[in-house]
Amino acid sequence: MLRDLVIHENEAARIGQVLGSFLEESGASEALLIDRSGQLVASSGKTATFDTVSISALAAGAFSSTGAIAELLGETEFSVLFHQGVRESIHVSTVDGETILLAIFNDGTTVGMVRLFAKEACRAIGAVLAEARTQPRRVGALASPLSADETRSQIGPESR
């Protein structure tokens, strides 16, 4: 069973620090921490320029489908994925069984630099997430169960 993930303020700050250092050291422009189900967990960089939600869903899909190819070849997974563009490139690597780290970079750095520092960042983030998974899911405002009224989630207008 996949485990749900909770990010408290403390973990968010620590992950933010790791991503910030990673960008500085590697020369990458964006770093996205993505859950393998396709959801963006955290990001750092000039993210206003990219649609990070869409990138997360697609990258998780690409990573999981190459993982399935790896299995067909008798590998457990391909731990790194690299796509080279004319201006922008992406590098995706495994953080843990449930999350991946995606870096967007251009010709201001090299894939070798990104790979080197991504490895370090993945280790550091993996440790933070391992702690995060032991934290209580529901604290503060979410500590008590929601009432029937509060769970009346409405995304759009109903027919009747």
Binding site: V6, I7, E11, R36, V53, A57, L146, T151, P157, R160
Partner: protein, 205 residues
């Protein structure tokens, strides 16, 4: 697999539209995309073949109501319905919190519906998810067609487990019934994660 982010004050869920090929999964998502204002939806992405058949998934992020200061967001996915795409279908189910099963109401598609529903159960089991505990609704689509089977018949074929799923009639091409199913599954997902019953279960375990 929900993600609660206390720093960003966000709760994220994943809902998957499942069902046989050409049942109306993509059409349902397209209606949701068309109907919502820009502030409540992100970009819709469709990974489809040249003839508009889904090859991997469609994806649409939407926002629901804010709960106790937390924005609840739902990432909506469809799976490829065609039988031979099971591997990609399984990948899309990873981390799913709720399912909308879109059935094709036509008599001639009953077998495909039943097979797809069994396939859903099998694929969920591979992730150790139990369909009987998964928030899931039935959306009987194409109700406008003269070849549509009566709802009680569809219910008998697809919805007679011990825990009956809420079911809805829809005509996805013009949007009727699509939000009834989606709003209901989103409530069920919220309730399953944060409702009273969940609390009781957690305390008991």
């Amino acid at each position: 697999m929900s993600i609660i982010n206390y720093a960003a004050k966000e709760i994220n869920f994943k809902v998957v539209y499942y069902g046989p090929g050409v049942a109306g999964k993509t059409a349902s998502l397209q209606h949701v995309h068309r109907s919502l204002p820009d502030g409540k939806k992100g970009k819709m992405i469709s990974l489809a073949t040249g003839d508009d058949r889904t090859i991997f998934f469609d994806f649409l992020p939407v926002s629901a109501l804010t709960v106790r200061g937390f924005v609840t967001k739902f990432q909506l996915y469809t799976v490829p319905g065609q039988v031979f795409y099971n591997m990609t279908r399984k990948l899309v189910l990873r981390g799913v919190d709720g399912v909308v099963f879109v059935a094709d109401s036509q008599f001639e598609r009953l077998k495909e519906n039943v097979e797809s529903f069994r396939n859903l159960e099998e694929n969920l089991r591979e992730y150790n998810y139990d369909l009987d505990r998964m928030p899931c609704v039935m959306q009987y689509n194409k109700r406008d067609l003269p070849t549509a089977a009566p709802v009680p018949y569809l219910e008998y074929m697809l919805n007679r487990r011990a825990r009956r799923m809420p079911s809805f009639e829809s005509v996805a091409s013009r949007g009727a019934g699509v939000f009834d199913a989606l709003n209901t599954v989103s409530r069920m997902v919220l309730l399953s994660e944060f409702g009273q019953e969940q609390e009781v279960q957690r305390n008991a375990s």
